[in-house]
Amino acid sequence: MKKVLLNKIRLTSVFGLLVASFVGCSDILEESPSAFIPKIDASVISEGLLTSVENGLYGSLAQENIFDANGYPTIWGDVGVDVFGSPTFATTPPAVTNNFLPSNEQVNDMWQTHYKALSGVNSAIATFKDVEVEEGSSLEQPLKNLLGSARFIKAILYFNLVKAYERPVIANDLPETVDEVIAQEKPGNATPKEVYELIISELQQAIVLLDDARSSQFATKSGAKALLGKVYLQIAGLLKNNVIQSGFEFKQSAKDFYTLSNKMLDEVINSVDSNGKEVEGAKSYALEKDYSDVFDPSKEGQNSEIIFGVSFKSGGTGSNYGDYYGIIGGPPNGGFQNVLPLFELIYSFYDDFRASEVTFNNLFDSDYPLPVSDSRFLVTFSTFDVQGFNNNPGDLSKLNKNVSPGSFGAYKWIKPIPAPEGETFDRPFDFPYLRYSDVLLMNAEAILGTEMDKAKAVEYLNMVRRRAYRFDVNQTVAADSGRDFNPDPALLNMQEEVHNIGGSNIDPEVDQRPTIEVMSQAKQLQIEAGTIGSYKVLPIDYSAMTSAEDLLVAIMVERRKELCYEGHRRDDLIRNGVLGEVISKVGIAGEFPSKWSFNNYPSNASFNATVNNGSSPRPKDDFQPHKYRFPIPQKQLDINENLSQNSGY
C-alpha cells in the first residue's frame, strides 16, 4: 500500500514538474517588436541614430500632400491661378476652379499630413534638445545639424500652413499616451501673427545651429537665412497690401519687414553675416550659366543655384512629379501629363505675340521655328510627347512632334525619369524649394519695398533675364534694344544630325525605354526648331524702367516664368494683393490677361484664351475674395470644438 502511495506521489510530482516547467514563463506576455524602435534612450545616442532621425525629418517633407506633385506647390501654389489650365489631374478639379469646400479631401489631407510631419519634428526636438554632448565630440555637429534641420523644417511646415490656412493650429508638445491625447484640451486656431512669430523664432535658432557645410539636400545656415528673408517678405507684402484682416498686427511696419527681408537676403547673396562681415565657410551661390542646368538631374545637390531642395529618394519614397506632370508616355506607367499649362502662360514666353501666325490647335513641323528666344520656354514645356515610344524603344521617329500647345507637358519635371529601378511614383528627384534666382527676385522686391535706391533691384532682375536669354549674367545688354537671333551654323548642322537620330545612336537592346539622353536629344531637336530664325528679342535689360510699380510688375512676371511649376505663384499674387485681379482675367475669351501675369503683349493683338481652355473649368469660376486662404477642413472642425472656420466659408 505504501509502495503504491509512493509511486503515486512520484508520478504526481513528475506530472507537476512537467507542468511547472511550462509555467513561470511570464515573458509569454511580453512583446518584442522588430519592425520599429519602441523607445529611444536619448542618453545613449549614436551618430547613426541622429542621421536616421534627421533623414526621417527630411523624408517627412518629401511626402504626399506636402511637397510631392499632389502637395502644396501644385494644389496651393500653381493650380487655379495663372499657371495651369485644364488639368486632367485626378484630384485637382476643386483646386482648379478655386472651389475649395471645407469638406474637400485635399484641403483636409494637406492639413493632416503637415501635422503628421510636425509631430515627427516636434518629437525630434523634444527628444534631443536637452541632450548634452562634449564639446568637440563627433556627435556635436550631427546633433546641431539635427536640431537645426528640425527647426528649419518646422518653419517650412508652418509657413505652408499659415499661407494656405491663415489660422492654423500651433500643435502643442506631443502627449505621451493615448489617454492623455483623449483627455487633453484641443488647441484652437492661432492667429497668423503667432504663427509667423513662431516661424521667425525657429529660423533664428536654425541660423545659429546650422553651418554651410552641407549640400542643398540639407538645411544650411544660408538656407535658413534665405527662408527667413522669404518669410519677412511675405509678412511685409501682406501688411502692405492689407491682405489679412485680423490677428496680424505687428509693431513693425511693412517697410520694416521689407528691410529685414532685404538684409537677410543680402547676407545670402553676399555671403556675409549681419554685420556685413564675410562669413568663413559660407556658401556662395550663383546663377547657373544655362537655365536647363538648374534642373539637370546629374547636378542635384551640387549645382550652384539650388539653396534647398526637397529630396525624394527612390525606393518607396520617390517622387511622382515625372509621372503626374511628365509628358505623355514619358515614364513607363506614368507620364499622365495631368497638369497642362494655360495658353496665356505659353504665350507669355513669346518674343512677340502674333496669334494670327500660329495655329494653336495643332503645331506641325512647318510651324517651327516658334518665335521664342527665352531659353526657359523649352525647359518649361515639352513640345512633343513620346507616346508609342515605350513599345519601340530607341525609335525617335515615334516621338510625336506635332503636339498642340494645349498638350504641352511640363518638361521641367520630366527629369525624375528615367528611374532605372524605380517604380511609378518612385523616382529620385530634388524639388527646388529655395533657389538663387528666387532670392535675387525676392531681394529685388524687398528693395522696392524699402523705398531704397532701385538700381540693385533692377540689377537682380536683369541678372535673371540675361541668363534666360543666354547672355552672360554679368554682361551689360543694351537697355533699349532686343537682339536678332542669328543661329550659329554649327547649330544648324546639329539640328540635321538630331533629325537623323532615328535609332542609330540608340541601342534598342540596351534601352528599354526612353533614357534621359534620348529625351534630351529629342529636346534638342525641339530647341533647334524653336530658335532658328530671326526675331527681334524683347528688351533684356530693364535699367530704363523707373516706375516702382512697373518694376514690381516686371518682377512678378519674371517670377512666373522663372519659377514656373515651383509652387510660388499663388503666394506671390496674394502677397501683393492681386490674386483676385489676376484670376478674374484668366481664361476668359476676349480678355487680356492681367498685367501681373503677362506684360509684353502688343496692344493690337487679339486674344482668344479659350481656344485651349475650351469647356474645361476656369479658375475664375468659383473665386471669391475669401478664397485668399483655404477653409479650415470640416473634418477638423467636427473633431475639435475649439477650432473655428475662416470667415467667408
Binding site: 508520478l11 520599429f36 479631401e105 518629437s123 493615448v178 489617454d179 483623449i182 470640416q634
Partner: protein, 1131 residues
C-alpha cells in the same frame, strides 16, 4: 517545495477519507460474481462499462467483450458504451448474463463537447449546437462550411465566393466588433487557433490582384470530423474567456474505437456546372450599342474619334453581317463565356484505418480531394490526414496524441479585384462580361489606320481575333481567355495541428490532465502575369511571391474533480493554459523580366520592386480557468465559469491596474421541469427545461504591438519618431451576454423543440477614435491614413431569437421520416461610437466606389452607405430642350449642343452618345455639389436635406445592410431499409447585397455590358430610369475620380436554396458479408441544386472585399451546381 508536497499529501488523505466514507455504505452487502459477454452488432465489444445502478462498483469488458462483476440479487446492472444504447438487467440469481448492445445515434448525440471537457446533453446548461458526423455524412460535405450551413440556429455562414475551396466567414450571434474581428474562436482538437488581428490565412502578396480568403478549416476533410460544436452563450464560451465573445467552434476529429481493426475506403466522383448565367447583351445588341455610341459620319473632324467603330461598318456606313466569313467582311462573334467555363470534375478518395483493443486504440485517416473550378484553369486540391491514438496505460493514466495535417493547393484566376475597369487589372469575371462579343473587322481597321496616317501594324490582334490595342494607342485590353490560360496564380498551404495529452487520475474522481501541442501554418503564393499581354505587359512581366508562416505552441493543464452528496453532484474544473504564437510574412514583387519564359523559377532574372515582411509579430496568452457545475437531482443545475486571461497585446496599465489581464465570469441556471415530481404523470413529456445564463467574454483580435510607442523606420526615409504613442491602458473588448432558453421533448422525443433568446452587449470596443489632426497621430485603420488612436469605447448590441424543431414524423422499423428546421431572427445595433461619430470605410473592391461602408450609432454594423437616386435627368429639366420635338431634341443632345436643333445635319453626323458639354438646368432642379455638366439621361440623386444641392456630407444615407431579418434551414430525411434520402434547404430573408458589378458593367462604350442596358435612356427612349450609356462620363464623382455608392447598386439578398439532395443505399448485410465487407454504401448527392432569388448576380450569398462589411459582390467567382456519386465500404 517540500512543504507543498506535505500539503498535497494531506489533501490527498482528506480526499481519500471522503471517498472511503462514501464507499462505506456498500461494504456490508453480500455479493456473488456475475460474468458474461457483451456484443455489439454481433461482435464482441471491449471497453463496455458495467455498473451497478446507484452504486460505485463497476467493471469494463476486455478485448473479447467479457466482463466480471460482483453483485447482489436485485441489483440492476447497467451496460453502457459510447455510441450504444445503454441496457439494464436486473440480477436474479443467474451468474452469466450476455448482452447485445444496439448502436444508437441518439446516445452519441447526447454527448456534447464543451470547452475542456464534455457533458451529457441533458446536463448542459449553456447554449450549444452540436453537429455530428452523421449529419455531415448526410450531405456528403466536401467543405467545412457545407457541413455547418443551415444546421445551427444563430450561426450564419457567409460564403466569400463560389470558387473551389474558397473561404467563408462564420458569424455566431451577430457582429460584436468593428475593428477587431467578429470571427469565432476555432478550437481544433483542443487547439485554439490564434489569429493575428484577423489578418490570418491570406496568402496573397501585397499588390497582387484579387482577394482569396482562406480558412484554417479548409485543410480539414469534413469526413474526418467527429463533431462540430458551436458554443453560443456566455456560459458556454466564458471558459474561453477573452477569446469567447464571438462564440467558439470546437472541431473534434474522429478517434479510434476499441473494436477490431477496420479499414474504410470512400471514393466519389462528381461534375460541377455553373448554376446561373448572367444576362449580357447579345452580339447583335452589342454591335448596335457601339453604332449608337459612335454613329457613322462623313464629317472628317469626327472621323478620328470614330476609329474603333469603323471595324463594324462598311465604307459607306452600312452594317456588316455577323458571321464567320472574314473575307466577305463578316463580323465574327466569340462566346467568351463558353470558352471560359467548363464542366468541372470533383474527385475524392479517402482511406481510414481504425482499431485497437481495450488498452490502446487508434484511427488514421487520409483523404484526397481534387476539385476543378467551373472556370478553366482553376482548381483546388487537398490532402488531409488525421492521426489519433489513445492509450490507457493503467487504471489511472491515459495518454493520447492527435495530429491533423492538411496540404492545400490552389490554382486560379484573379477575381474580386480592387480594380474596376482598369482593363489590365480587372478580374476575370469582369473581363468576361466586358470582352467584346463581336470582333471588329481588322482588315478594315488597318485600312482606316493608313487613311488616318496611323501605323497599321500597331493594331494588335491575338489569335482569337481579340483587338488588344488599336493603332490609336490607349488602353491595352485584356482577352479574358488569355488571362485565364496564361496567368499563373498558385497557392500552397500546409496546415497542421498536434496535440498530445496525458491524463492522470490522482483519485478516481480527481483527474489531472496536461496537454502539449503545437500548430503551424505555412502558405506560399506565386503569381505571374506575363509580359505578352495585359497587366504584365506594362512592366515586361510581373511576378509576386509571398510566404506566410505562423506557429503556435500550447500548454494546458487542468484538474477535474467530481463529487456527489446525496442528490447533489459537483463537478469542478481548474486549469491553467498558455499559448504563444508567431506570424511571419514575407513577399516580393518582381518586374521587367529578361525573358518571359523564365519567370517564377528564377526571379532574379527580373527587377525586384518590393520586398516586404511584417515584423514577425508574436503574441501570447496566459490563462487561469475554472468551472463549477452543480446538479441537484437532475432538476436544478448551476454552472459557474470564470477565466482570468492575460494577453501580450494589451498595455501594462498604470500603477493601479494592469490592462493585460481581464476576468471573464459567467453563471447559468437550468431547471429541468420534467424531472419534477409533479410532472411524473405527464408521460408524454420526456424533457422540459428552462435555462438562463449571463456572463462576460472578451475579444482581443487586434494586431500586436498596438500599445507600444512606435518610432517608425523606413528605407530612405530614416526614422519617424512617435509615429504611434504608448497606449498602456488599452484592454479587452468585453461582451456581456444574457441568454434564456426553453427546450422540450415530447412523445418519446419524437418532437424536440428548443428556443433561445439572447442579448449580447459589447462595450469597450477596440476601436479607433478620431483625434485632432494637430496631434499628428495617424493610424491606418482601414487601409487609408486617418487621425485615429486605438482605444476602448463604444457599444454594439446583438439581440436575437433562435428556434429549432426536430420531428420524427414516421418511425417504423423499415421506414423513417425525420424533419428538422431552425430559424434565427437577429438584430444588431451600434449603440454608441463615442465622441468620434460616424466611421466610414472602404469596401476595397471596385475601388472607384469608395467610402461606402458606414458605422453609425443607431444603425447596424457594416451598413452600405451612399446616395439615393431619384430617376434620371430628363429633357424637361433643361432649358435648352424646351419646345423641341423628339428629333430636334435628339440632334441637340447628340451634338453636345454644338449643332442647332433645327439644323439640317443628319442625326448620324453628330457625336452620338459621346460625353460632351452639359446643358443648363432649370431653376429648382437638383444639382450636385462640384458638378458642372448635366445632361439628360444621367442619374439624378435625392436631395435629402432639401437645400437644392446634393452633397456627400449631408445627403448620403444608409442604403442597406447584409444582415438578414431571419435565416435558417430545414431538412427532411427519409430512410427505407437500406435507402436513405435527405433534402436540405436553407434560406435568408431580408438584408441586401451591394452589387458593385452593376456599376462596372452597365455603363460605357467599347465593351460589352449587362443586358439591363437594353432599356437605357436614349434620345428616343426617354421613358425609363436606366441611365444612358455614357452617363458615367459625366457622373457626379467624388473627388479623385471616385463615385459614391447609390441605391441602384443595392439588391435584395433574400434567397431560398435547395442546398443539398442526397440519396444513399446501404447494401443488405448478407450481401455485404458475402463480399467480405463489414459495410458498403453507394451514394449520390446534388449540391446547390436550385436557387430561388430575385438577385441579378450569380449568387446573393457572397461577400468579397473588406471584412468590415458582409454582402459585397464584385467580380466574384460564380457558385457551381454539383452532382456527385460515390461508394463507401468498410472491411
Amino acid at each position: 517545495m517540500k512543504n507543498s508536497f506535505i500539503l498535497l499529501g494531506r489533501l490527498r488523505s482528506v480526499l481519500l477519507a471522503l471517498v472511503f466514507m462514501i464507499g462505506c455504505s456498500f461494504a456490508f452487502a453480500q455479493t456473488k460474481t456475475i460474468s458474461g459477454v457483451v456484443t455489439g452488432s454481433g461482435l464482441p465489444l471491449p471497453g463496455v462499462n458495467v455498473k451497478i445502478k446507484g452504486g460505485s462498483t463497476g467493471a469494463v469488458t476486455d478485448f473479447d467483450g467479457i466482463y466480471k462483476i460482483d453483485a447482489n440479487t436485485g441489483d440492476v446492472l447497467v451496460f453502457s458504451s459510447l455510441g450504444f444504447a445503454a441496457q439494464t438487467v436486473t440480477v436474479s440469481g443467474e451468474s452469466n448474463i450476455d448482452i447485445n448492445l444496439v448502436e444508437d445515434a441518439e446516445v452519441l448525440d447526447n454527448v456534447v463537447v464543451i470547452g475542456y471537457g464534455s457533458v451529457a446533453k441533458k446536463d448542459l446548461t449553456g447554449s450549444v449546437v452540436s453537429v455530428k458526423a452523421e449529419d455531415i455524412e448526410k450531405v456528403q460535405a466536401v467543405s467545412f462550411e457545407q457541413a455547418l450551413v443551415a444546421k445551427a440556429p444563430g450561426v450564419r455562414v457567409v460564403t466569400s465566393q463560389g470558387g473551389p475551396g474558397e473561404g467563408f466567414r462564420v458569424k455566431i450571434r451577430g457582429s460584436t466588433s468593428i475593428l477587431a474581428s467578429s470571427d469565432p474562436l476555432y478550437v481544433i482538437d483542443g487547439f485554439p487557433i490564434d489569429s493575428n488581428g484577423g489578418n490570418n490565412f491570406n496568402s496573397q502578396a501585397s499588390g497582387d490582384l484579387g482577394g482569396t480568403q482562406s480558412s484554417p478549416l479548409a485543410s480539414i476533410d469534413p469526413s474526418n470530423i467527429q463533431s462540430i460544436e458551436v458554443l453560443k452563450d456566455a456560459s458556454a464560451t466564458a471558459i474561453y474567456g477573452a477569446r469567447g465573445a464571438n462564440g467558439v467552434v470546437i472541431v473534434t476529429t474522429k478517434s479510434g474505437k476499441n473494436k477490431n481493426t477496420s479499414f474504410t475506403f470512400e471514393t466519389s466522383l462528381g461534375v460541377q456546372k455553373i448554376s446561373r448565367q448572367l444576362d449580357l447583351l447579345s452580339p447583335q445588341e452589342y454591335v448596335n450599342v457601339q453604332r449608337e455610341a459612335n454613329p457613322f459620319t462623313t464629317r472628317p473632324e469626327l472621323a478620328f474619334k470614330r476609329f474603333a467603330i469603323f471595324g463594324f461598318r462598311d465604307d459607306k456606313g452600312g452594317n456588316l453581317v455577323l458571321g464567320d466569313n472574314l473575307a466577305n467582311d463578316e463580323l465574327r462573334s466569340v462566346d467568351w463565356r463558353g470558352l471560359a467555363f467548363r464542366e468541372a470534375l470533383i474527385k475524392k478518395h479517402a482511406l481510414a484505418i481504425t482499431g485497437g483493443n481495450d488498452k490502446t486504440w487508434f484511427s488514421a485517416r487520409f483523404s484526397y480531394t481534387d476539385q476543378d473550378g467551373v472556370i478553366k484553369n482553376s482548381d483546388f486540391t487537398r490532402y488531409a490526414s488525421n492521426f489519433n491514438v489513445s492509450s490507457k496505460i493503467n487504471d489511472r493514466l491515459d495518454v493520447g496524441f492527435v495530429t491533423n495535417i492538411g496540404l492545400i493547393k490552389r490554382n486560379g484566376v484573379a477575381t474580386a479585384t480592387s480594380s474596376g475597369v482598369s482593363a489590365q487589372r480587372s478580374g476575370v469575371l469582369t473581363n468576361l462580361v466586358r470582352a467584346a462579343p463581336v470582333q471588329a473587322n481588322t482588315r478594315k481597321l488597318r485600312e482606316l489606320a493608313i487613311r488616318l496616317g496611323l501605323d497599321p501594324t500597331a493594331l494588335e490582334v491575338d489569335e482569337y481575333g481579340f483587338v488588344e490595342q488599336s493603332p490609336q494607342g490607349g488602353v491595352i485590353r485584356v482577352n479574358p481567355i488569355r488571362q485565364i490560360t496564361e496567368t499563373t496564380r498558385e497557392t500552397t498551404e500546409i496546415n497542421g495541428y498536434f496535440n498530445s495529452n496525458i491524463a492522470y487520475k490522482i483519485l478516481p474522481n480527481l483527474e489531472a490532465k496536461a496537454t502539449f501541442g503545437g500548430s503551424f501554418y505555412f502558405s506560399n503564393g506565386f503569381s505571374f502575369y506575363p509580359g505578352s499581354f495585359g497587366w504584365g505587359r506594362l512592366t515586361n512581366g510581373r511576378a509576386f511571391t509571398s510566404t506566410f508562416r505562423s506557429e503556435s505552441f500550447l500548454n494546458e493543464n487542468t484538474l477535474k474533480y467530481n463529487v456527489g452528496f446525496g442528490r447533489s453532484k459537483f463537478d469542478a474544473l481548474l486549469g491553467f493554459t498558455q499559448q504563444r504564437s508567431r506570424f511571419v510574412n514575407t513577399s516580393s514583387t518582381v518586374t521587367e523580366f529578361e525573358e518571359e519564359a523564365v519567370n517564377l523559377g528564377k526571379l532574379q532574372t527580373g527587377v525586384a520592386e518590393q520586398v516586404n515582411s511584417n515584423g514577425f509579430p508574436e503574441q501570447g496568452t496566459l490563462s487561469f480557468l475554472n468551472r463549477l457545475n452543480y446538479n441537484y437531482d437532475s432538476r436544478y443545475y448551476l454552472t459557474f465559469t470564470g477565466r482570468y486571461d492575460g494577453s501580450s497585446k494589451f498595455g501594462v496599465g498604470d500603477v493601479s491596474s494592469n490592462a493585460k489581464w481581464g476576468f471573464f465570469p459567467s453563471g447559468a441556471f437550468k431547471w429541468t421541469i420534467s424531472n419534477e415530481n409533479f410532472m411524473s404523470n405527464a408521460d408524454f413529456i420526456n424533457n422540459l427545461s428552462l435555462r438562463t445564463s449571463y456572463g462576460v467574454t472578451g475579444n482581443q483580435n487586434i494586431p500586436a504591438f498596438i500599445t507600444q510607442v512606435e518610432n517608425q523606420v523606413e528605407l530612405n526615409r530614416g526614422v519617424r519618431l512617435n509615429a504611434r504613442i504608448a497606449n498602456p491602458n488599452l484592454t479587452w473588448e468585453t461582451t456581456a451576454q444574457f441568454d434564456a432558453g426553453l427546450e422540450f421533448g415530447l412523445f418519446n422525443n419524437a418532437v424536440k423543440f428548443e428556443a433561445d433568446f439572447y442579448q449580447k452587449s459589447t462595450t469597450d470596443l477596440l476601436y479607433a477614435l478620431p483625434v485632432d489632426a494637430a496631434t499628428g497621430l495617424v493610424s491606418s485603420t482601414t487601409g487609408s491614413e486617418e487621425n485615429r488612436v486605438f482605444t476602448n469605447l463604444g457599444e454594439i448590441r446583438n439581440t436575437g431569437v433562435e428556434l429549432s424543431l426536430g420531428v420524427r414524423i414516421i418511425d417504423t422499423k423499415n421506414f423513417k421520416w425525420n424533419a428538422d428546421a431552425n430559424i434565427t431572427f437577429s438584430q444588431n445595433e451600434i449603440r454608441d461610437l463615442g465622441a468620434g461619430g460616424d466611421f466610414i470605410a472602404d469596401s476595397n473592391v471596385e475601388n472607384r466606389i469608395d467610402q461606402d461602408i458606414l458605422f453609425r450609432e443607431g444603425e447596424r454594423v457594416g451598413s452600405f452607405f451612399g446616395l439615393q437616386t431619384d430617376g434620371i435627368y430628363r429633357y424637361s429639366d433643361f432649358v435648352e430642350f424646351d419646345g423641341l420635338d423628339n428629333v430636334q431634341a435628339a440632334r441637340l443632345y447628340r451634338s453636345g449642343g454644338t449643332i442647332a436643333p433645327v439644323s439640317d445635319i443628319n442625326i448620324d453626323d453628330t457625336l452620338g452618345d459621346a460625353p460632351a458639354s452639359g446643358y443648363t438646368l432649370k431653376p429648382g432642379v437638383v444639382r450636385v455639389q462640384g458638378v458642372q455638366r448635366y445632361r439628360p439621361g444621367v442619374k439624378k440623386y435625392k436631395d435629402q436635406d432639401g437645400d437644392g444641392i446634393v452633397d456627400l456630407d449631408k445627403d448620403r444615407t444608409v442604403l442597406g445592410n447584409n444582415q438578414p431579418d431571419h435565416f435558417g434551414g430545414f431538412s427532411n430525411n427519409f430512410s427505407y431499409k437500406g435507402f436513405d434520402f435527405s433534402v436540405l434547404f436553407n434560406w435568408s430573408y431580408g438584408g441586401e447585397v451591394f452589387n458593385k458589378n452593376l456599376f462596372t458593367n452597365t455603363f460605357g462604350t467599347g465593351t460589352n455590358l449587362y443586358g439591363v442596358v437594353r432599356d437605357r435612356w436614349t434620345p428616343f427612349n426617354t421613358n425609363t430610369n436606366r441611365p444612358s450609356l455614357n452617363s458615367s462620363a459625366v457622373f457626379p464623382l467624388l473627388q479623385s475620380n471616385r463615385s459614391p455608392a447609390d441605391d441602384t447598386l443595392i439588391e435584395d439578398a433574400s434567397y431560398l436554396r435547395l442546398a443539398n439532395i442526397s440519396l444513399s443505399y446501404k447494401l443488405p448485410s448478407e450481401m455485404i458479408k458475402s463480399l467480405g465487407l463489414k459495410d458498403f454504401k453507394i451514394f449520390g448527392a446534388v449540391d446547390n441544386a436550385y436557387l430561388w432569388t430575385n438577385y441579378s448576380g450569380y449568387d446573393p450569398d457572397v461577400s468579397v472585399g473588406s471584412p468590415l462589411a458582409a454582402g459585397i459582390d464584385f467580380d466574384a467567382y460564380p457558385r457551381a451546381r454539383s452532382f456527385r456519386i460515390g461508394v463507401k465500404g468498410t472491411f
